[in-house]
Amino acid sequence: MMTLPWLDLPLVWGGLIAFAVLAYVVLDGFDLGTGILFAVERRTEDRAVMMNTIAPVWDGNETWLVLGGGGLFAVFPLAYAVIMPAFYPTIIGMLLALVFRGVAFEFRFRAVTARGRAAWEFAFLAGSTLAAFAQGLTLGGLLQGVRVVGGAYAGGWWDWLTGFTILCGIALVIGYALLGATWLVWRTEGDLQRRCRRHARALGAATLALIVVVSLWTPMLNPTFAHRWFGWPGILLTSPVPVLVVLLAWGFWLGLRHGHHVTPFLCALGWFALCYAGIAISLYPYIIPPGITFRDAAAPPESQAFLLVGAVVLVPIILAYIAYAYYVFRGKVQHGEGYH
C-alpha cells in the first residue's frame, strides 16, 4: 500500500483544496457576479450578451465547487462531516440557489413567451445573488468558529446568523458583482461595456470599504487571529497584504480611467486572491476554528496518497484544456451573436 511517507500529505492536500476553493471563488465569482448585475442591467438584449459571455464556461467553473466539496470529503472527511451539518441551512440554500442559476442558462433559451424568459432571468439574478450571499454566510460562520464536541457539530440552529456573517454575505455579493462587472468590461463592448465600467467604479469602492471593515472585524473574533496579524513575527507575513491591496487599487482605478479592458478584471482578481491569502493566514493551521486543525481532519495517508497521485497528473491536464476552452471562446461577445 502506497502512503508516500516522505511527503507531508495533509499539508500538500491543504494547499490543493485551498487552490480548488480559490479557483471556484474567482471563476464562479464572475459568473455569479454577472447574474447579480442583472439587477441593474434590465434590457433583454444586454442580458443575452452578458449570459453569452459565460454560457460556454460556467459549467467548468462550477466544477471547482464540486472539487472543493468532494475533495474535502476525500482528504479531510472530518472537516466535511462537521462543516456540512454546521452550515446545513446555508449549504442547502446555496445548492438550491445554484439549481435556479444553472438551469436558467438553458431554460431562458427555451422559454417561448416573454414572460417565461423574464421569469428565468429573474431566477438567474436571484439564484446568483442568493448563492453568493449563502457562501458569504458560510465563510463568515467558519471564521467566527464552530462548536464541536466529540468530532461532531454541537452548535445550534442559528449559529451561522450573526452581524459578522451577514456582513460577509453582503461583502461577497458586492465582491462577486465587481468581478462580474470587470469581466464584462473585458468581454463586451459599446454601451454595455461603458455602463459596466461605471458599475465597476462604484462596486470597486464598495468592495474596498468592505474589505477594510471585515479585515478589522476578523482579528477581534479570535485572539489567535489578532496575534497572527499584529504580533511578532506574524506581522512580517501579514503587513504586505494591505500594502498590495492598496497597490492593486491604484492599478484598478488607472485601468478604468484609461479605458483598459483587462486590467480592472485582473486587479479585482488580485483583491480576491489577497483576501483569500489573508483568511488562510488567519486560519492556519485550523481548518475549522477554534478546535480542528487540518492535521486532525486529515484522512489516513492511504487515502490521501491514492488521490494525490491522480491529482498531480490530472490537475495540470485539466488546467490546460480549460485554458483551451477559454481560448476557443475568446474575444468580445456581440449583440445578436450566439456562437451558432
Binding site: 454560457a55 464540486v66 466535511y80 446545513y88 442547502i92 438551469v103 442558462f105 417561448v112 488521490l307 484544456y321
Partner: protein, 472 residues
C-alpha cells in the same frame, strides 16, 4: 433520532431519483450524438447532421439539469450523512475525487465546445469534443458505480479504533465483487432508456408523417438498439442477480418474496408480501422455477428471509414490487425489439402503426425500469449504508428532524418547479418534427431583438437536402 433518519432517507431518495435519470439520459444521448456526428462526417448525409442538431438541443437541456442536481448530491453526503462521510470518507471520498478529476472536468471543459463551438473549431475538432464528452460520461459512471458497488459488496479495507474504514487495497475496493455486474447493467440501462425515448419521438413523428426521413432514421436506429440491447440487458440482469445471491442473499430473498429456505423455491410471479405475518399473500408462483433461475439447478437451495435476523432484512414489499416492475418492463422492451425485427422484413417497420403507438407509449419505459432497478438495489441494501458493516441509523448527521423536514420540503418545491419546467421544455423540443437543415441549439428567439420572429430556415431547402423518398 429515528424520524430524522426517515426524513433524511426520503430527501436523499428524492434528490437522487431526480438526479439519476438525468446522467442516465446524458450517458445514452451523448453516445447517440457521437454516433450521429460520426455517421454525418463519414457519409456526408444531411439527415445525420440534422438529427445531431435535433438531439443536441435535448442534450444541452438534460445535461444542464443533471449538473445542478449532481452538485446537490456531492454535498448531501455531508449535510445529511455526516457520520457516514466521516467513517467511510477515506474509502468513498477518493473514488468520488477521481470522478471529479477524470470525468466532471472533462465533460465540462468540452461541453462548451460541443454546444457552441462547431463554427469556431470546425467539424473534426468538434467531433473530437463530442467523443470526449462521451468518454467523460462513461468515466463518471465507472467511478460512481465503483462507489455504489463497494457500499453493496465492500472489501479491501480494515476498520480502525475510531470506526473509520481504512483502505488497504485500492484495486480490491474499486473492482469489488459486484462492480463488473453493476457497471454494465447501468450503462446498458442508460442506452436502453435513451433508445426507447428516441424511438418514441421517432414513432410519434412517423405517425404524423410517414415520409419524414429523419424520423424514419431515428426510429430505425432506436429499434435496432431495442432488438440488440434489451435481450443483452436481460442476460446481464440474470448474471447480476446471481452475483447478488452470492454476496447479498437477503436482498434476493426480498426480491423473490421467499420467506422460507427451500430446495424447490418457487418463482413468485405476483403476491403481496406481509412483513408482520412473514408470508406472501395471494401468491401466484411456479414451483422449482425460482431454484432453477437462481441456482441454475432444479433442486438448488435458495435461502428465505427467515434465515436472516429481522433487524438485517430490507423492507420486503418495496424491493419485491420494484423488482417486478423492472423485470416486466425489461421483457416488454425486448418484446418490442423482437417485434420490430420481424416487421423489418418486407419493409413494414415504417408502416406498423400499432408498433409505433406502442413505442410512443413506452417513451419512459427505460427510465422507469432504471429507477425501479435502483430501488431494488438501494432499498435492498437496507438497513445498511455499507452492507454488513455500517447501519443507516449510524450514518446520519446530527441535524434534528425539523431542519431535515424544512429542507426536504424546499427540495420538493424547487425540484417540482425546476424539473417540471425542464420537462415541459423537453416535450416542446421533441414535439417539433426534425426538419432539413435543422437549426442549431442556440438559433432563434433570445438572441434577436424582441418582436422579430425569423422564419424557419427549413423553408427554402425543404425537399433538396434530404433525398426525396417515394411516399407509400
Amino acid at each position: 433520532m429515528p424520524q430524522a433518519v426517515t426524513l433524511a432517507r426520503a430527501q436523499f431518495a428524492f434528490t437522487v431519483a431526480f438526479h439519476i435519470v438525468l446522467p442516465a439520459f446524458s450517458i445514452g444521448l451523448a453516445s447517440y450524438l457521437a454516433v450521429l456526428e460520426g455517421l454525418w462526417l463519414r457519409t456526408g448525409r444531411q439527415v445525420y447532421q440534422d438529427l445531431f442538431q435535433y438531439w443536441v438541443k435535448v442534450f444541452a437541456l438534460v445535461f444542464g439539469m443533471g449538473v445542478v442536481s449532481g452538485v446537490v448530491m456531492s454535498y448531501e453526503f455531508g449535510t445529511n450523512w455526516s457520520a457516514f462521510a466521516d467513517k467511510a470518507g477515506p474509502v468513498v471520498g477518493p473514488l468520488m475525487g477521481y470522478e471529479v478529476l477524470t470525468a466532471f472536468f472533462l465533460e465540462a471543459g468540452f461541453l462548451g465546445i460541443m454546444l457552441f463551438g462547431l463554427k469556431r473549431v470546425g467539424p473534426g475538432l468538434h467531433f473530437l469534443a463530442t467523443c470526449v464528452v462521451v468518454l467523460g460520461t462513461l468515466i463518471s459512471a465507472f467511478w460512481i458505480l465503483a462507489v455504489n458497488s463497494w457500499m453493496q459488496t465492500p472489501q479491501g479495507f480494515r476498520v480502525d479504533a475510531a470506526g473509520r474504514f481504512i483502505p488497504t487495497d485500492w484495486l480490491a475496493v474499486i473492482f469489488n465483487p459486484s462492480f463488473f455486474y453493476r457497471l454494465p447493467h447501468m450503462v446498458l440501462a442508460a442506452y436502453l432508456s435513451v433508445a426507447f425515448f428516441v424511438g418514441a419521438v421517432g414513432a410519434w413523428h412517423l405517425l404524423r408523417d410517414r415520409g419524414n426521413v429523419a424520423a424514419r432514421t431515428m426510429f430505425s436506429m432506436a429499434m435496432w438498439m431495442a432488438t440488440i440491447v434489451a435481450p443483452l440487458q436481460i442476460v446481464m440482469g440474470d448474471m447480476h442477480g446471481l452475483n447478488t445471491l452470492q454476496y447479498q442473499p437477503v436482498k434476493v430473498a426480498a426480491m423473490e418474496g421467499d420467506w422460507e429456505t427451500s430446495r424447490a423455491a418457487p418463482l413468485v410471479l405476483f403476491g403481496w408480501p406481509e412483513t408482520e405475518a412473514r408470508h406472501t399473500e395471494f401468491e401466484l408462483a411456479i414451483p422449482h422455477l425460482g431454484s432453477l433461475i437462481l441456482t441454475h439447478d432444479w433442486n438448488g437451495e435458495v435461502k428465505g428471509l427467515e434465515a436472516f435476523p429481522p433487524d438485517q432484512r430490507p423492507p420486503v414489499p418495496v424491493v419485491f414490487w420494484a423488482f417486478r416492475i423492472m423485470v416486466a418492463l425489461g421483457f416488454l422492451m425486448a418484446g418490442v425489439g423482437i417485434a420490430s425485427l420481424i416487421l423489418r422484413r418486407g419493409g413494414r417497420l415504417f408502416h406498423a402503426r400499432r408498433l409505433q403507438w406502442l413505442a410512443v407509449a413506452m417513451a419512459p419505459a427505460g427510465f422507469v425500469a432504471l429507477l425501479a432497478g435502483w430501488v431494488v438495489t438501494e432499498v435492498g441494501r437496507q438497513p445498511y449504508t455499507v452492507f454488513g458493516h455500517l447501519r443507516t441509523d449510524d450514518s446520519i448527521s446530527p441535524v434534528a428532524m425539523p431542519g431535515v423536514a424544512v429542507s426536504l420540503a424546499a427540495f420538493a418545491i424547487v425540484y417540482f418547479i425546476v424539473y417540471g419546467a425542464g420537462f415541459a421544455y423537453l416535450l416542446a423540443l421533441v414535439r417539433k418534427p426534425p426538419v432539413p437543415a435543422e437549426p442549431g441549439p442556440y438559433a432563434g428567439v433570445p438572441m434577436r431583438t424582441a418582436g422579430i420572429t425569423p422564419g424557419p430556415p427549413a423553408a427554402e431547402t425543404l425537399g433538396d437536402a434530404w433525398p426525396v423518398e417515394p411516399r407509400p
